[in-house]
Amino acid sequence: MPTESAVLDALSGVRDPELDEPITDLKFVSYLRIAEDAVDLRLRLPTYFCAANFAYLMVADAKEALMGVPGVNHARVVLDDNYVSGEINTGMAEARGFRDTFPGETESEDLDELRAIFRRKSFVSRQEKMCRKLMADGRTPVELAQMSVGDVPSSEAFEKYLDRREELGLDVSAEAPLLVDPDGNRIPAEAVVEHLKFARVTRLGIESNAGFCRGLLAARYGIEDPEEETA
């Protein structure tokens, strides 16, 4: 029988695409039961009107993550208290795709394009966070422009940056330039300051929204609102 820690570990790889945090950290998992080779999971979100597309992605990703855990042969994921809970839960149970879950309400088969936008935002945000740390440690913007991936000592911020970078299919080898845009183009030394100034806004948009959503979830379900963490 799969262990709870193996299941939670797999779920920690599922992120809210918009908030760029694992659904486990965000406390979106409201119920988990493991019986033999079957897992029952319930997810909850901060508001009734949390966007249908992101909700769908998280439910589908959670199901896929569960099915990837050795020993799991059946996984049921149910979304609580959302305006499209009914559609999503039926769609999941009947293994419909996104388009067939919301017939007539989408323009394309899946959500790849939407997901790509938020992967790019996440990449920029994580890059800014890493640079912020490097600059606090004494690096200058010009130095950042000259550095390669292999020049950076390991840290949580750096690992997350590499993870998001890899997700975009960009080069993460040691010789690759450290600072690139989401298309993989190197950021020239003279543009680094402006690049990071704007990246800061991208990060702030994501992080403050995540903070807001944590507060809303806490109020909605009567759980503790975590302390504010900011860069």
């Binding site: 009734y48 597309n53 323009e107 935002k121 990449f123 845009d181 704007f198 702030l204 809303l216 504010e228």
Partner: protein, 372 residues
């Protein structure tokens, strides 16, 4: 009543029955540490979300309970029971805004939502009742929806003329039949913006929400603001909730379009539970826009202006962030709290409130790249 006392009654209820004296009786201005502030609340509602008005429980109850979640991140002493939150009425609103809330003028924004509420959530006509009772206290904004079809434009013109509208609030995410939303740059919206120009409606408040069709797109996308702001330089576009959660996209548009403004509702509420994020958001807005294009608002009755105004006037950038964002002066706060909105709506500001000239910077360097 002596000077400085608050008069919030109707003029025709003035015990002295003197209309001219009534007009002179303005509220005492909010004052703290020797600084006076003229407060315009840029976003308020008088809604009816009581069960009797729900078209269906799924939408009517769901909508107001979603709002209630936002309400509950207020300081605890401001929490209401859900029944009161569903329908709080005129008297409560007058008390919360003007008796205790430090507000001098409030803008009534309408949100129709006829698909969710039988009589509408808070329509222009509903808001007009309180506006007519307290004309000095409120600015009444209307709305249009390009999906209204045949008579839509004519009805909008009639509404605008009837109430002498100077502003509208557009809710692009509103459900309407099979449609789950529209875009400001839809062809169908053009005649409405032209009509705004013709009628002297120059303030366009825009709200984004999470239910836009088609579902495979980003529902909070603010790009459409960019198009109309370019096409209609004479109109002011006040983006409510500063585009959150798309702050980066919003700033990118606002820095290029000098007729785009930041409406602070929702972002304001962070001041209490996430003060550092609040400081950072404000700092970014001051950097990318400038102090003349940021408008205070409470989004009443989700949040109450009393604690927002008090906490904002007391707010200072955390010390470790001052280097990055600079300090907040009383002059900057005065602009955000009221002077900027007063400029957009041609309101007369009492002479005892110091008024700095607008800086109208708009000189930030071009972006090195498109936002992601």
């Amino acid at each position: 009543m002596g000077t400085g006392e608050r008069w919030i009654g109707r003029c025709d209820e003035d015990p002295d029955r003197s209309a001219s004296r009534c007009r002179e009786r303005r509220n005492a201005l909010y004052e703290k540490d020797g600084e006076k502030y003229f407060v315009v609340d840029g976003h308020t509602h008088l809604w009816d979300a009581s069960p009797e008005n729900w078209r269906t429980e799924h939408w009517g109850k769901g909508w107001i309970e979603c709002f209630y979640g936002y309400h509950q991140i207020s300081p605890e002493e401001y929490h209401w029971p859900i029944e009161k939150f569903q329908k709080y009425g005129e008297e409560t609103m007058m008390h919360d805004l003007f008796e205790v809330g430090h507000v001098d003028v409030a803008i009534l924004q309408s949100t129709y939502l006829y698909d969710f509420y039988t009589n509408g959530f808070n329509t222009t006509e509903q808001n007009a009742v309180i506006k007519e009772k307290y004309p000095e206290k409120f600015i009444l904004n209307g709305r249009f929806d390009p999906r209204d079809g045949g008579n839509g434009l004519r009805d909008f013109e009639a509404l605008a003329k009837k109430y002498d509208l100077k502003g509208v609030k557009l809710y692009t995410a509103e459900f309407k039949g099979d449609s789950k939303g529209w875009k400001l740059n839809d062809d169908a919206a053009k005649p409405y913006f032209d009509k705004c120009l013709e009628l002297g409606i120059k303030n366009i408040h825009v709200h984004k929400g999470p239910t836009v069709w088609p579902l495979n797109r980003d529902a909070f996308d603010v790009q459409d603001v960019d198009y109309v702001a370019t096409d209609y330089p004479e109109l002011n576009f006040i983006v409510e909730h500063v585009g959150l959660p798309r702050l980066d996209d919003f700033c990118w548009i606002a820095v290029q379009e000098s007729n785009v403004y930041a409406g602070m509702s929702v972002a304001m509420a962070l001041i209490h539970t996430r003060p550092r994020y609040f400081g950072q958001i404000l700092g970014e807005l001051l950097y990318w826009l400038d102090e003349d294009r940021i408008l205070f608002s409470s989004d009443y009755a989700i949040w109450q202006p009393k604690w927002l105004v008090e906490e904002f006037v007391d707010y200072q950038m955390p010390e470790d962030m001052e280097g990055e964002y600079g300090a907040l002066t009383p002059d900057i706060k005065r602009k955000i709290l009221g002077l900027n909105a007063a400029r957009l709506y041609d309101l007369q500001v009492p002479s005892e409130v110091p008024q700095e000239e607008p800086v109208m910077s708009g000189s930030e360097p071009e972006y090195p790249e498109q936002p992601v």
